[in-house]
């Protein structure tokens, strides 16, 4: 969690010559920091293709895509947050809040579902704004302000229906998660891919995106450079929460129901995906391509372990080991 430590320092010292003259293509996808994990992902896929009959089938790979949609969408927002050196622990709860608001507005208050989705996303964005303002105006550390928001949003999500789930959405809604257009692309997966593309474009090609790197690198330098650090910070938490809300809507499509317990501990998965993908928790370093790899590692791992019929207890151990290896490999490569 520290900006500069001696190990990092050493690493930086030693890599300049290799990173200095990167080939163009790798540069485009800015894999720096994620080649280790990428290798890990490839090895994992190769292993699973041999170990199970079903892993390397079109159908299963599409399943994996379905299963990572929520994580993938949220991880894009978390990437922005972590890039500026922040953290957002509230995403899992905000997801649940957005789901419940949507369910309530549509099925209890009886408004059209489209409107309900907009209201839900607005609530999600508002929670992000609150976290962001706590951080910028009141100097509350991001960890604490989003931890508080995590508790608050979960409480509110529960209060809406006194802890009950809501079912009974129109048929088309759930179908968005299941009908495969052109035989392969569900709407939910398409939404995730669009979010990936927007996130990637934003970070790479917009000046706002670039300034996030500056803020994460050194907020004082960024401020003196004329970047509106407070505004960008609030904006980033709003986007992260908005995407968590969108994750909630997508999850509602997948489950065809909404429940206040949804998204419990998702924040850890999301942060893990981002960090496995090479984005540094101290800010200023990383990107969306790495995050996608991180999301895929988690998705493939869970899917594969289930296909292999591994017991949940052993799964926990294996997941821990693989995560540590993927990140250690990256660090080792850098030596």
């Amino acid at each position: 969690m520290n900006v500069r430590n001696d190990r990092e320092e050493d690493r930086m010292t030693m890599t300049h010559s290799t990173t200095a003259e990167r080939p163009r293509l790798a540069d485009l996808f800015s894999l720096s920091g994620a080649t280790g994990p990428l290798i890990g992902l490839v090895l994992l896929c190769i292993f699973l293709s041999f170990a199970t009959d079903s892993f390397f089938t079109m159908r299963n790979l599409l399943n994996v895509l379905d299963q990572i949609t929520v994580l993938g969408i949220m991880a894009v927002g978390m990437t922005l947050v972590i890039l500026i050196g922040g953290i957002d622990l509230a995403v899992g709860s905000v997801l649940a809040l957005a789901m419940m608001v949507m369910g309530y507005v549509a099925n209890v208050a009886g408004f059209p579902l489209g409107l309900a989705i907009i209201v839900a996303l607005a609530c999600a964005a508002a929670s992000g704004a609150v976290s962001g303002l706590l951080i910028t105006l009141f100097n509350v550390p991001a960890f604490i302000s989003t931890l508080a928001m995590m508790s608050i949003a979960r409480g509110l999500a529960n209060m809406i229906t006194d802890g009950q789930q809501i079912v009974g959405f129109p048929a088309w809604f759930s179908m968005l998660a299941f009908i495969r257009h052109w035989g392969f692309l569900t709407t939910t997966v398409a939404v995730m891919l669009i979010v990936f593309a927007l996130g990637w474009f934003f970070l790479r090609y917009t000046s706002a995106g670039r300034s996030l790197y500056a803020i994460g690198g050194n907020p004082e330098v960024a401020r003196l450079a004329g970047i509106n650090v407070s505004l960008m910070t609030v904006g980033v938490y709003v986007v992260s929460s908005l995407l968590a809300g969108l994750g909630g809507v997508v999850l509602a499509m997948r489950l065809d129901s909404v429940q206040p317990t949804a998204g419990f501990t998702y924040e850890l998965d999301t942060i893990a995906a981002v960090v496995i993908g090479g984005t540094s928790l101290s800010g200023g370093q990383g990107g969306i391509v790495g995050t996608i790899i991180g999301v895929l590692i988690i998705g493939v791992l869970r899917n594969g372990l289930n296909l292999l019929g591994v017991s949940p207890f052993t799964q926990a151990v294996v997941i821990g080991v693989v995560i540590a290896l993927a990140v250690a490999a990256e660090a080792f490569k850098k030596r």
């Binding site: 990092e8 010559s17 200095a20 670039r210 330098v221 003196l224 450079a225």
Partner: protein, 496 residues
């Protein structure tokens, strides 16, 4: 040889490579007890790298060292310290949240019965500070100390080490004349005790006062060794840069009458300065001089919107633009090259191109869209324009200090501002580069920019300013024209 004693430290054929790039090409060096060896050279010559090898901070790639007659290969700073080698680093290395005393004794706290003895720690730190003429409580936290005082704390840290060999890498970069004098007294005392000292500085006029021998480096090699410090500065400079240097300061620009920046009754929200009034005209260079702690940095930061203002106004071409944020100031064409490049100027682990880009996001984008190609081209252009020894994709922390400073300047001037404020622009910069920075400053003025230069280097303010405003204890004590300004008149006002 002025000193016949056996060397305490010898370096033989020391080489160092970072990746495929060799930055030290077989250095030999001897230091004897009780002598001060000045290590001189341009930015990036390898002075800090040698120091770091001796102090166990980084290992050499090849070559041997001998310490008090025995082979010496420290694998960590701890081993070097235990052997009796102390070093203060070029970049300030203080822990802002801890007290001065704890910073002085970090890693070697005085103990009684195995426990940290705070009383002893504070007492010893206080006496260390007093030897440097610094009268502040050692129980005070380091954050909030001025750069100069931080530098003194750093020196106190080195002085209390009881080292046999002390490496001082640009100890005076942030110091004023008085503090420097105090330091020299301490160095004399250490010499008398038989301590060997390696002294690195870009202030060549100091060298004559403090050094016994001079070693000059260029591009990673030792190019010349003088057995006495009584060498004309010109000769040293030529050894350093490998060519003749005609002059230090270019001819001053001729300002127009049109006022660009006006500061009226400006008072700091934090009480660092009060009631400041001055005008800078188009094409004029205004120097700001004063003793350390006079409030110069705070004043210019406020003008650039970086610090809050309690009252007063800043006018640009007659319009009130009193800035509320750096963003505000920049929008109006006022830019600040800050005092501390490490904390305020650069994102050290990002590339040079990125660093230049951050301050120029509007320039490298069209309709909010930025491309890496554009950022790189823009950066290359400015790297070239300001003579930075480095490439765009290199990380800022891989550059020598002086070249980092040039990157900071480049990053701001690329915006083509109408007012440029430079706070200690040549801190840690070699003579050659320094004169090229003066050329840049004068060039700016000639293009019609209003320039403010804050400097603790008297020769510099005198050499480069049309007028000099002198500050003392947060107040402006006078403004001198170039013709009336000299060491004496400025110092009189500074101590007023």
């Amino acid at each position: 040889m002025t000193n016949a004693a056996a060397p305490i430290l010898s370096l033989r054929n020391i080489r160092k490579s970072y990746g495929p790039i060799e930055v030290l090409h077989g250095i030999d060096l001897d230091v004897r007890p009780g002598e001060v060896v000045a290590l001189l050279g341009e930015n990036g010559a390898g002075k800090s790298t040698i120091s770091k090898i001796i102090s166990g901070t980084t290992p050499q790639s090849s070559g041997e060292m001998t310490w008090q007659g025995k082979p010496y290969a420290p694998s960590s700073p701890r081993e070097a310290i235990d052997a009796g080698v102390g070093m203060i680093h070029q970049e300030l290395m203080l822990l802002p949240h801890l007290t001065i005393a704890e910073n002085v004794f970090v890693g070697r706290y005085p103990r009684r019965a195995g426990l940290v003895d705070r009383q002893a720690m504070n007492d010893q730190a206080r006496s260390g500070l007093e030897r440097l003429g610094l009268n502040i409580s050692p129980a005070r936290r380091v954050d909030g100390l001025s750069t100069a005082n931080q530098q003194l704390v750093e020196i106190a840290k080195a002085l209390t080490l009881n080292a046999r060999l002390l490496i001082l890498d640009e100890p005076t970069a942030a110091l004023g004349g008085e503090e420097t004098q105090k330091l020299f007294e301490q160095i004399a005392r250490l010499k008398a005790d038989g301590v060997g000292i390696i002294y690195i500085s870009h202030r060549l006029e100091e060298i004559r006062k403090v050094a016994d021998r001079i070693v000059v480096m260029r591009d990673g090699s030792k190019v010349e060794e003088f057995d006495s410090a009584d060498i004309p500065v010109r000769q040293i400079v030529e050894a350093m840069v490998g060519r003749q240097l005609e002059r230090m300061f270019p001819a001053l620009p001729t300002p127009s009458d049109e006022p660009v920046l006006e500061v009226r009754n400006l008072t700091s929200a934090r009480g660092d300065f009060e009631d400041i009034n001055f005008t800078v005209r188009r094409g004029e260079i205004l120097g700001i001089a004063g003793l350390v702690g006079a409030g110069r940095t705070e004043l210019v930061r406020a003008i650039a919107g970086a610090d809050p203002i309690a009252s007063g106004t800043v006018l640009l071409k007659g319009r009130d633009i009193t800035p509320k944020s750096p963003r505000d100031a920049i929008r109006n064409g006022i830019v600040l090259v800050p005092e501390d490049r490490k904390l305020q100027g650069l994102v050290l682990d990002h590339t040079i191109a990125e660093n230049i880009g951050y301050a120029n996001l509007t320039k490298v984008s069209t309709g909010g869209i930025v491309t890496t190609g554009k950022v790189n081209a823009f950066a290359d252009n400015n790297i070239h324009r300001f003579g930075v020894k480095g490439r765009g994709p290199q990380k800022a922390n891989e550059l020598s200090g002086g070249n980092q400073q040039k990157v900071v300047i480049a990053k701001w001037l690329a915006r083509e501002p109408s007012v440029v404020v430079l706070d200690e622009p040549t801190r840690g910069i070699d003579v050659g580069a320094r004169s090229s920075i003066y050329d840049i400053i004068v060039g700016l003025a000639q293009e019609g920019v209003a320039v403010i230069v804050v400097s603790s280097d008297l020769e510099e303010v005198l050499g480069v300013s049309n007028r000099i405003m002198v500050m003392a204890a947060g107040r402006q004590s006078g403004i001198l024209d170039h013709a009336d300004a000299n060491d004496v008149s400025v110092m009189e006002l500074a101590t007023a």
